[in-house]
């Protein structure tokens, strides 16, 4: 990479990353971390300028997985985009489905039956648990704890994916939600199986926490590293566990009360320092809150249809207008912005990707730290390249 490809024009007043001066000894080294670095979770590049071990400049480079998802969405009907949303954040296809269904339901004023709302909450919280467990597993993997924590996380994730498969037919590409409900109903046997899996989750979280929480290496490598300040986090549009780890109490489940989240009691875990450890800890605590929501939701799933019988499926043409629908996805605020001109295809189809926007501050929180910590900081942001590049 040539040095001229990295340029930042200085502009007064903007919330820019701090400028770090070299200590003047030796030469600066410019390294392209990625696009095939194992810690980048896909194809992603960071152009890093190093002064010894210290990072003094970092520019993320995107687009290796870009397939213009938004244009695909505008070239086909509303429903035909639903399976494509699975491929955004392929760890959490069900929350992607929900966000898109919510935006379209807002656009046409579509109601969702009670049973479908319960199923959506159950599936979204299961998604959150498996996402957070895997994220922590990957973080530990990058810390050098090769294999074991990740295998513990994946063992639990597999159980949840089995539930997804038996309900939707697919482990990861679920394509389950529809405008006005869900595609298929859950059998009583599935609800029972879910109860069984959920009853085993607290002991998994306990076990995971016992291994990790007071681990000396984890504390040494995570505490005080990659610190993000709350005012910058809000200004930079950071969302999800990364925002809450800085101590900002903002959970869209509590703010927007979308779906039926106002019926469940749960707390919003907050961090204090905004470092890697807080991000890890917030995810750990969020898994516990998700288990609590699951227990409440699974107690009484009402009977009834899973699809609104009045929902229009064929010849679906929303009247002209626009809507922005957002949910609290495991990685942050996932929003869909739709403009309809009355035709069967959306005039504008926009995805607000939490993974991409959470990377806005990557440079800010990496500057000044060692190059080995960049890998951890990046891992603690929790991104999926399918969503970053779209």
């Amino acid at each position: 990479v040539s040095a001229s490809s990295i340029k930042t024009e200085k502009l007064a007043g903007w919330n820019r990353p701090p400028v770090i001066e070299s200590d003047g000894e030796g030469e600066l080294l410019e390294v392209a971390m990625g696009p095939h670095h194992p810690s980048t979770h896909g194809v992603f590049r960071m152009d890093v300028v190093l002064d010894g071990e210290r990072v003094i400049k970092l520019k993320p480079v995107f687009g290796y997985l870009h397939r213009n998802h938004e244009q695909l969405g505008e070239r086909q009907s509303y429903l035909a985009s639903m399976p494509y949303t699975d491929r955004l954040d392929y760890f959490c296809s069900l929350t992607n489905n929900w966000a898109y269904a919510l935006a379209v339901e807002k656009l046409v004023g579509q109601a969702v039956p009670e049973r479908a709302e319960y199923l959506r909450v159950i599936l979204a919280e299961l998604t959150r648990i498996q996402n957070h467990a895997s994220t922590i597993g990957f973080l530990l993997q990058e810390m050098g704890a090769s294999g074991t924590p990740l295998m513990y996380a994946f063992r639990e994730r597999e159980k949840i994916l089995d539930l997804f498969e038996s309900l939707t037919g697919s482990r990861m590409m679920c394509n389950y939600m529809r405008f006005g409900g869900c595609r298929v109903d859950a059998s009583p046997a599935w609800i029972e199986a879910t109860r069984k899996v959920v009853s085993g989750l607290p002991s998994f979280v306990d076990e995971f926490e016992n291994f990790l929480m007071t681990n000396e290496i984890l504390m040494a490598r995570c505490q005080g590293i990659g610190v993000l300040k709350p005012d910058l986090a809000v200004n930079a549009g950071i969302s999800g566990p990364m925002l809450r780890a800085t101590g900002v109490n903002y959970d869209i489940r509590k703010v927007d009360h979308y779906g039926i989240y106002d019926r469940f009691k749960f707390r919003v875990p907050l961090g204090d320092h905004g470092d890697i450890y807080d991000r890890y800890m917030v995810r750990m605590l969020e898994m516990r809150e998700s288990i609590s929501i699951l227990n409440q939701a699974l107690k009484d799933v009402p009977a009834g249809p899973v699809m609104d019988p009045k929902a229009k499926i064929r010849n679906f043409r929303p009247k002209a207008g626009e809507s922005y629908g957002r949910i609290e996805a495991p990685k942050g605020e996932l929003g869909f912005y739709l403009i309809s001109d009355g035709s069967p295809n959306p005039y504008r189809y926009r995805v607000r990707p939490p993974s991409l926007i959470n990377l806005t501050v990557l440079e800010d929180i990496c500057l000044g730290s060692n190059v080995a910590d960049v890998v951890l900081i990046f891992g603690s942001v929790d991104i999926v390249l399918g969503e970053v590049d779209r």
Binding site: N235, A236, K319, D389
Partner: protein, 223 residues
């Protein structure tokens, strides 16, 4: 949260001449938006962020929308004087004809910002800015100095729609590669004829490959 009309009044009081227009949204969700004069974008944005009642400190979503030039045809009745032979004598007579007149309403590029408040937990307030046209006057002021979250999103809008955000600290392509020409999310975008053809072309691909080879031979495209 105040209604859009109240926000409009507040903006007009704080930033005189901001030219705020309410764009109503007929969808059931009724998220109306505010169209603001691009000249005053930064002043209005700072007001929205710093005002105590609004406190819109969280810019969630930035996106572009492309509206093509619209050809509007209307039928007009025109009276003209036409030479005509009446009873064997050449005369000039008034004749009314219906004529279709066409004029082009210029298209524009639009930047849409979805604002929320973390402090007050309300939103969205939707703000839009329009460029003068979609060819040579595509500049809009960047709001990255006001909300950092616009940094990558405005780069993406520049990359895919070609809106040039003046005052953006680092306006480069973000998803497409640097050498790429054209803006793929524009409504009139045509895919370039330069993709790699299959090694063993067949059917439709064969036809396109032959057409492409002919173009290369004629020197119309370079590769």
């Amino acid at each position: 949260l105040k209604s859009v009309e109240e926000i409009k009044a507040a903006i007009e009081a704080a930033v005189p001449g901001a030219g705020v227009k309410v764009i109503s949204n007929p969808a059931p969700i009724a998220q109306h938006s505010l169209l603001i004069d691009a000249q005053h974008a930064v002043a209005v944005a700072e007001f929205l962020r710093d005002d105590e009642d609004l406190a819109l400190d969280y810019l969630s979503n930035v996106t572009g929308v492309d509206y093509l030039d619209k050809e509007i045809s209307e039928k007009v009745k025109v009276t003209r004087q036409v030479p005509k032979e009446v009873d064997g004598v050449q005369q000039i007579v008034d004749e009314t004809v219906e004529e279709t007149r066409k004029h082009v309403e210029p298209g524009y590029l639009e930047a849409v910002y979805h604002l929320f408040s973390v402090a007050k937990k309300h939103g969205p307030v939707i703000v839009r800015f329009r460029s003068a046209n979609r060819s040579d006057q595509v500049e809009l002021p960047s709001l990255t100095p006001v909300w950092r979250s616009a940094e990558f999103q405005e780069r993406e809008v520049f990359d895919l729609f070609g809106i040039v955000f003046t005052g953006h600290p680092d306006l480069r392509r973000i998803l497409m590669w640097d050498e790429f020409k054209d803006y793929p999310m524009r409504r009139d975008y045509v895919e370039p004829d330069d993709f790699e053809y299959e090694p063993t072309p067949h059917d439709d691909v064969l036809k396109r490959a032959q057409e492409h080879k002919a173009k290369v031979a004629a020197g119309e495209v370079s590769q």
